[in-house]
């Protein structure tokens, strides 16, 4: 019984690690403009292979262009897409999360922002003092998921199924109430507006990943 339980827990730890990695990676991608070290890791052949498997066509130029030029292009694109000035696609939930019941969406610091902040603080986390963006930035939401799943992973490792389930349910609630309500919509806007292949393809992967999460989270819970 114990060994069976352990094998099951190990499987759960492995799955949690995989999800932590993806959320962590995506949080880093959206948090700020790409830095050279990150770009060079993304441009390694193994990562290129994975992106290709995921159906992402970054084009030869992405891999061929000189580092500093590529960094510059991507920084410009990041700013243009996510920060403005001018027409841009703010990466905040309260802009994209259509709240049909109260109509409170399409603006900064909307009802969704408040809910996300409360959700995160209720879970026991605090926004760092030097964090300057709004609380419902896409990278914060991904980072939050990363941290909850880390806690879930630790619970599995400790053999504490109740705690792990608690975390899984928190993850489900956050996916259902927040991520799925806006990330795919946001990503498709990015796909339509991106000029460089990198953000276009990453946005496709991001939207697909959140849908993948939505489709699988119930099974993660029922299998737990």
């Amino acid at each position: 019984m114990d060994s069976a339980m352990n094998a099951k827990n190990k499987k759960s730890v492995a799955l949690a690690d995989q999800r932590i990695n993806v959320y962590g990676f995506l949080a880093g991608i959206y948090r700020q403009e790409l830095v050279p070290d990150l770009l060079s890791q993304i441009r390694t052949p193994p990562f290129r292979g994975v992106l290709s498997d995921l159906g992402a066509n970054l084009g030869d130029e992405f891999f061929a262009r000189k580092d500093e030029d590529m960094i510059e292009d991507l920084a410009v694109e990041y700013t243009r897409l996510f920060m403005g000035p001018g027409k841009h696609i703010p990466p905040y939930e309260s802009i994209h999360h259509e709240r049909r019941t109260d109509g409170d969406w399409g603006k900064f610091w909307g009802a969704s922002t408040v809910e996300v902040k409360k959700f995160i603080e209720t879970a026991g986390l605090q926004y760092k003092d030097d964090f300057a963006a709004l609380p419902d930035h896409i990278s914060v939401e991904f980072e939050f998921m990363q941290k909850v799943i880390e806690r879930e992973r630790d619970a599995w490792a400790e053999g504490d199924r109740d705690k792990a389930l608690y975390c899984l349910k928190m993850e489900k609630m956050f996916i259902d109430d927040h991520l799925i309500k806006w990330v795919p919509r946001f990503c498709s806007e990015v796909v339509s507006n991106a000029e460089l292949s990198f953000y276009r393809e990453i946005a496709k992967i991001t939207g697909n990943f959140i849908e993948f999460e939505k489709e699988n989270i119930d099974a993660y819970i029922s299998d737990a």
Partner: protein, 866 residues
């Protein structure tokens, strides 16, 4: 739909992991701290204020469902069902959710008060708790010192679980046994019948495993003793599993409306239909199989060890004249329908027969429930998965409560003395509706002190005019204390008021029946501190008995509850109070079916649950009495081994001569019943002398001069009804309880008054249109109401919900503010001017012929336009 496959996800995760592991470009994260997995801070999305979520239990009605209370800045803001409760599974009803407004009722009593004007004048003066407790203690002490502690009358309405154990125990510790309850106005006929048949009371319907649901006289989707935990299961059974649901009801209740079939039935005639259904089962041989097997455990003839064939023959003989055609004449239900439902019920197994108050509030109440026990037994639908089961609840241990020898005033609680009208042979749950008229009959000097605890004798019983006269009469009730949360109708006639804590401000362990046959242990915690100077009456009584010189190991009810929880097996190991305070619920996970098959002695299988090892066969049952104990006798008529010393018999000879059935309290010494070559615990007794058989044939009824098997007897007051006479029946709605919720502004805003339902045919004959003012006249009084003309009422019947029409109980219930009533911002939202009219005022306090249960639905009235 995502285009990512699991395989690609894993590859992507691995590659992402490699990037993360390198740690470059990921320095500035936004969040700090650790994810809390248990008791994190909670914030209200609406107000942004910090919230506390506290597990507790409801008390709006006797279902007492587990719930979570949310408190913001010390104010209770929301109540929800407890998701971990196996009973409620996260559900509480509208009444439960609305409960929080009772804490903040502007007509709530916040301080102890003493009457200054004449009784009932509404003039009061605030006093201190010390004065109030000194008064109560002084009066009890005076009676105790004079050798008449029984002249202290304590009468409660709702007092369950730890409140019952502690408060009831402490009241008894003062020496009085003069304690009244209220089951006689709820459903006691049903309980008495169950005590006569399968011993113990309360049935649970195993909805989760049933394949057929037959409902009689129960609006179970809106209201019930175990409402939400059963109701939501019924809907799952119906919708998820397609379980048929057939409902007999005098009116189109919401339960009837949601059923696959509503079968209208004349008031009080459910029993006739059940008798006829049973005959169908007997005639068609539908008892074969499960029924026959179960009949081995049933007593159907005078002989306890009769053969199944003889049992069937005896039943066939008794039921010979109860034909569907006969039942059709009485009930109005077509014989073909009776036959169809009987066949469905008997052949779709397992099946439940859900019957409640509506089926027993009549002259035949107790016997109608016995008739249902026969039908369930004959079809094998008893105590097995998916059938009518003996109820299972939590088995809490109780911290020690001081004890004293008690004395009780006779001929008060059980109806009139033998030989007089309204005397009953088996009032096993008393006849509380008779108490005021019994006090009147006994005259001045019967009681010196009366305390009402969560009880409103004025409102909860019939014949209001008599109630008011007795309550006002200071010679009959010299000093009355009412322990109440708000200014109730009976409190209005008290001499002193003790402001009680609401259920949201106090602690209890709770034990209501679990529909999964498991038994759920759960608690109630104070969500907020009692408002003003309100105090839990448990705390008050602890102080009273300590002032009387007795000692308790706890100073408050909270401590009593914690000590009890910490000593209860199972809960204790799970973490005791610390665990329960955090989680609110606990259950052992073991289900209980076939309770009657517990073997005490089986020589063949070498099972022996008595001292030593008794493996002799049971051919000479008297020979093995000594194995059970020195004072154990074997009764040949009952087939029962019993300790005669536990009974009221003075000697062994007297016990032998009177026998098990004839000796008072013989059931208290019950050991086991012989069935064939095995001694079973069986359906052991708990209130009357019965054997371990399912006693469909009752010796004690024979001894009392009644038929041993269920017998239809027309109600005397309905034998000669005129063409203008109508049946008055009462019912409940989903947002009110009988007496206690009308001060709740949310609930009463939804249901502020109770129009009388009348069929268009009856209305037309009387020239009554929808909304007209009408007069309803009974043999004892006349009331006014307003008509709701609807096809949902059955011709010949007038249906009036028994909730509204308070004379006091605050502005929402009656329009009258309490003496210290405060203003409330929602006063402007009171959209109703008529506060309803309660049918109790015209209903006599008559009892069922066997149990004495109040015949709420038996009153014959005339109705006319006012």
């Amino acid at each position: 739909m995502s285009t990512i496959t699991r395989r690609n996800f894993m590859k992507f995760a691995a590659a992402s992991g490699a990037v993360l592991a390198a740690g470059k470009g990921f320095e500035s994260e936004a969040l700090a701290g650790t994810v809390a997995t248990q008791t994190g801070r909670d914030f209200s999305p609406a107000t942004g204020k910090e919230r506390k979520a506290i597990p507790s239990a409801c008390w709006q009605c006797v279902s007492r469902d587990s719930m979570i209370g949310f408190v913001e800045d010390g104010r209770l803001v929301k109540l929800e069902g407890h998701p971990k409760s196996i009973r409620g599974q996260g559900h509480i009803c509208a009444r439960g959710q609305g409960g929080l407004t009772s804490v903040y009722d502007p007509d709530r009593i916040l301080y102890p008060m003493r009457r200054t004007g004449p009784r009932g004048s509404g003039k009061w003066k605030r006093i201190s708790w010390d004065e109030a407790i000194s008064e109560l203690t002084g009066r009890i002490k005076k009676l105790r010192d004079a050798g008449h502690p029984e002249k202290f009358l304590f009468h409660y309405g709702r007092m369950k679980a730890s409140s019952g154990k502690l408060i009831g125990g402490l009241v008894k510790a003062t020496g009085t046994g003069s304690i009244g309850n209220h089951t006689g106005v709820c459903e006691s006929a049903k309980w008495t019948a169950q005590e006569m048949t399968w011993g113990g009371h309360f049935d649970n319907w195993d909805i989760d495993h049933t394949k057929y649901m037959l409902i009689m006289g129960s609006n179970i989707l809106e209201t019930h003793t175990n409402h939400m935990s059963v109701a939501h299961r019924i809907m799952h059974a119906k919708i998820d599993r397609g379980v048929p649901m057939k409902t007999f009801d005098v009116r189109m209740s919401n339960t009837a409306a949601k059923s696959d079939e509503w079968i209208p039935i004349k008031q009080g005639t459910d029993m006739a239909v059940v008798l006829a259904m049973t005959k169908v089962v007997l005639d068609k041989g539908l008892y074969k199989g499960d029924g026959e097997e179960f009949l081995k455990f049933c007593k159907c003839t005078p002989k306890h060890d009769d053969t199944v064939a003889n049992k069937i023959a005896a039943l066939k003989k008794h039921y010979a004249n109860y034909t569907p055609a006969w039942a059709e004449k009485i009930s109005g239900v077509p014989a073909s329908t009776i036959e169809k439902i009987a066949v469905e019920f008997a052949t779709t197994k397992p099946a439940v027969l859900i019957a409640y108050r509506g089926a027993v509030t009549n002259y035949n109440g107790c016997d109608s429930e016995r008739a249902r026990q026969v039908l369930s037994s004959l079809t094998g639908n008893v105590d097995a998965p998916g059938t009518n089961c003996k109820a299972v609840g939590a088995g809490w241990k109780s911290a020690k409560v001081p004890k004293a020898k008690t004395k009780k005033v006779k001929d008060i609680f059980d109806g009139a003395p033998k030989g007089e009208p309204e005397s009953y042979p088996f009032p096993t749950h008393h006849a509380s509706h008779q108490v005021l008229s019994r006090i009147k009959a006994k005259g001045p000097g019967t009681f010196d002190l009366a305390v009402w605890y969560c009880y409103t004798p004025y409102f909860a019983n019939g014949n209001w005019a008599e109630n008011e006269a007795v309550l006002k009469d200071e010679s009959l009730l010299p000093f009355v204390i009412s322990c109440d949360t708000s200014y109730g109708d009976s409190t209005h006639f008290a001499d002193m008021i003790l402001p009680d804590a609401t259920y949201l401000e106090r602690f209890d362990w709770e034990d209501m029946v679990d529909p999964t046959q498991t038994g759920e242990y759960y608690i109630r915690q104070a969500l907020v501190k009692p408002l003003g100077e309100a105090r839990d009456f448990g705390d008050v009584m602890i102080e009273v008995v300590n002032r009387l010189g007795m000692k308790t190991n706890y100073k408050t009810k909270e401590e009593y509850v914690q000590q009890s929880v910490d000593m209860t097996p199972g809960v204790k190991e799970a973490g005791g109070w610390a665990y329960m305070a955090k989680e609110g619920v606990w259950n052992a996970g073991k289900t209980h079916y076939f309770s009657y098959k517990e073997v005490i002695l089986d020589p063949k299988k070498q099972v022996c649950k008595v001292g030593g090892s008794v493996y002799e066969d049971l051919k000479d049952p008297e020979a093995i009495c000594s194995y059970f104990g020195d004072d154990v006798l074997f009764d040949n008529l009952a087939g029962v081994w019993w300790h005669w010393k536990a009974s009221k018999a003075h000697s062994e000879d007297e016990a032998k001569q009177k026998g098990y059935y004839g000796t008072k309290y013989a059931y208290k010494g019950y050991v086991a019943t012989k069935m064939g070559d095995i001694a079973y615990k069986g359906f052991g007794p708990d209130k009357v002398n019965k054997s371990g058989y399912m006693e469909l044939w009752s010796q004690i009824l024979v001894d009392a001069g009644y038929n041993a098997l269920p017998e239809w007897m027309p109600a005397p007051n309905q034998k000669n009804m005129g063409s203008d006479d109508m049946h008055l029946t009462t019912y409940k709605v989903c947002v009110q309880t009988h007496s206690r919720t009308q001060n709740n502004k949310w609930l009463t805003e939804i249901y502020p008054n109770n129009h009388a339902w009348i069929n268009p045919k009856d209305a037309g004959k009387r020239g009554i249109s929808d909304g007209d003012k009408i007069k309803v006249k009974s043999p004892i009084a006349e009331m006014t109401s307003y008509a709701h003309v609807t096809e949902n009422a059955q011709p010949g019947h007038i249906h009036i919900a028994h909730h509204m029409g308070h004379i006091q109980y605050g502005r929402y219930a009656s329009g009258n503010k309490a003496p210290e009533g405060r203003s409330d911002p929602d006063d402007k939202n009171i959209h109703w001017k008529w506060h309803g009219s309660h049918p109790n005022q015209v209903i006599p306090n008559w009892g069922d012929r066997l149990s004495g249960f109040q015949r709420w639905n038996d009153t014959v009235v005339t109705v006319k336009k006012a």
